[in-house]
Amino acid sequence: MTQSLDYLKETASQTAGPYVHIGLAPGAAGFDIYRQELGWDIAGPNARGERIRVEGIVIDGTGSPVKDVLLEAWQANADGIYAHPEGGGEVEDGFRGWGRVITDFATGEWGFDTVKPGSTPGRNIGPQAPHINLWIVARGINIGLNTRLYFEDEAEANAADPVLNLIEWERRRATLIAKRTERDGQTVYRFDIRLQGEEETVFFDI
């Protein structure tokens, strides 16, 4: 016999299921219940920095769009500070850094408006390139998938990013780089997420 460590075990994950919208985005399920749903105010009008739009689609192993995904985004502000007591400082009023978005039931497209984050301190070596942390849940996803969106126009910072450089297969790093485009004068980053296949998006165990 040895002493017991007395740690608790983390509650096991279960899929968010097809009706995740009821709990986390009831308007999309078809009814209005809360004074205010959560996750629409990732970067309010006062948030500093370049206004951008991020868009994409989640694609399953058959090449079809996944139309019942819920994504959450967590990002630093333009100065690289997270809105959290350990986030590296104070953020401006109106910057929250957290967003929640669902895919369109018909097309599978998702998108949100935010500001481009700044670079953040790495754990050990060098800064992390600007990135948005994403968490993806849906029917058929047994435990939420963590990934990161990096920006195409940050090539130099991306090349030095400690997390991208952890990915042994260089060609897989490209799955995390959002493509910069312009539409009606607005900057749009395109970030498609592939759950399977040769171009499967890199997912992290954080």
Binding site: Q14, Y19, A29, S64, Y82, Q196
Partner: protein
């Protein structure tokens, strides 16, 4: 600069695997490559914060939060209560807990649910609350019904409530489902059985808690939720990785 204390590694043998052929939808939605393991940086040890501006006092009362004045939903009145803890056994205060569920007949108020059991005009099926300083939370609702679903031709979900919990770091983010003590459908549910460890399944089954019932009013179930614990920074680990 002191390195942030990391969250304990997730036990991936305890959680369900991404791929489980008996939960058919997972087959084409499960990543095939291995996850890339990260040491926690500031991106993982931080996460969104929520306050009482974000929720209303009635949001945790599913018996009232969608009912017409003077009416209430059909079903067995229950209280679901418990604590959000971390793996060190410490309470997780001031964290957002969101729930959603079917009504007493097993029907969801969702445009994609076509089960023949009726919608309850007095039941929305979602709620949210913020844990108190001791990590405690509670909801009042009606017990959800079991319902059939298309997996194998005759699969039925046991009665369950979905829960979404944030904790204090994006690394702690969790969605799970709570089941009810004594439900015979638990053992044969392909979604429950994505979890291999029977003890992990047991941790998802809320116990009937007669001490917390309100006599002549509502029966109670207790459901504690455990989020990842965090390493204290007695010594820095060696410089490598990210």
């Amino acid at each position: 600069m002191t390195k942030p204390g990391e969250y304990y590694q997730r036990d991936r043998m305890w959680h369900p695997p991404a791929y489980d052929k008996d939960y058919k939808t997972s087959v084409t939605r499960s990543p095939q490559y291995s996850l890339i393991s990260l040491q926690n940086s500031v991106s993982e040890i931080t996460g969104p914060t929520f306050g009482h501006n974000d929720v209303d006092p009635l949001d945790n009362d599913l018996i009232k939060n969608y009912a017409q004045p003077g009416q209430s939903p059909i079903g067995e009145r229950i209280i679901v209560h418990g604590r959000v803890l971390d793996e060190n056994g410490r309470p997780v205060p001031n964290t957002l807990v969101e729930v959603w569920q079917a009504n007493a007949g097993g029907r969801y108020r969702h445009k994609k649910d076509t089960y023949l059991a009726p919608i309850d005009p007095n039941f929305g099926g979602c709620g949210r609350t913020i844990t108190d300083e001791n990590g405690y939370y509670f909801f009042r609702t009606v017990k959800p019904g079991a319902y059939p679903w298309r997996n194998w031709v005759n699969d039925w979900r046991p009665a369950h409530i979905h829960l979404s919990i944030f904790g204090h770091a994006f690394a702690q983010r969790l969605i799970t489902q709570m089941y009810f003590e004594g439900d015979p459908l638990i053992a044969s549910c392909p979604i429950v059985n994505t979890i291999r460890d029977k003890a992990a399944v047991g941790q998802l089954i809320a116990a009937l808690d007669k001490n917390a019932t309100i006599p002549l009013d509502s029966i109670a179930y207790k459901f504690d939720i455990v989020l990842r614990g965090r390493r204290s920074t007695m010594f820095e680990n060696r410089l490598e990785g990210n």
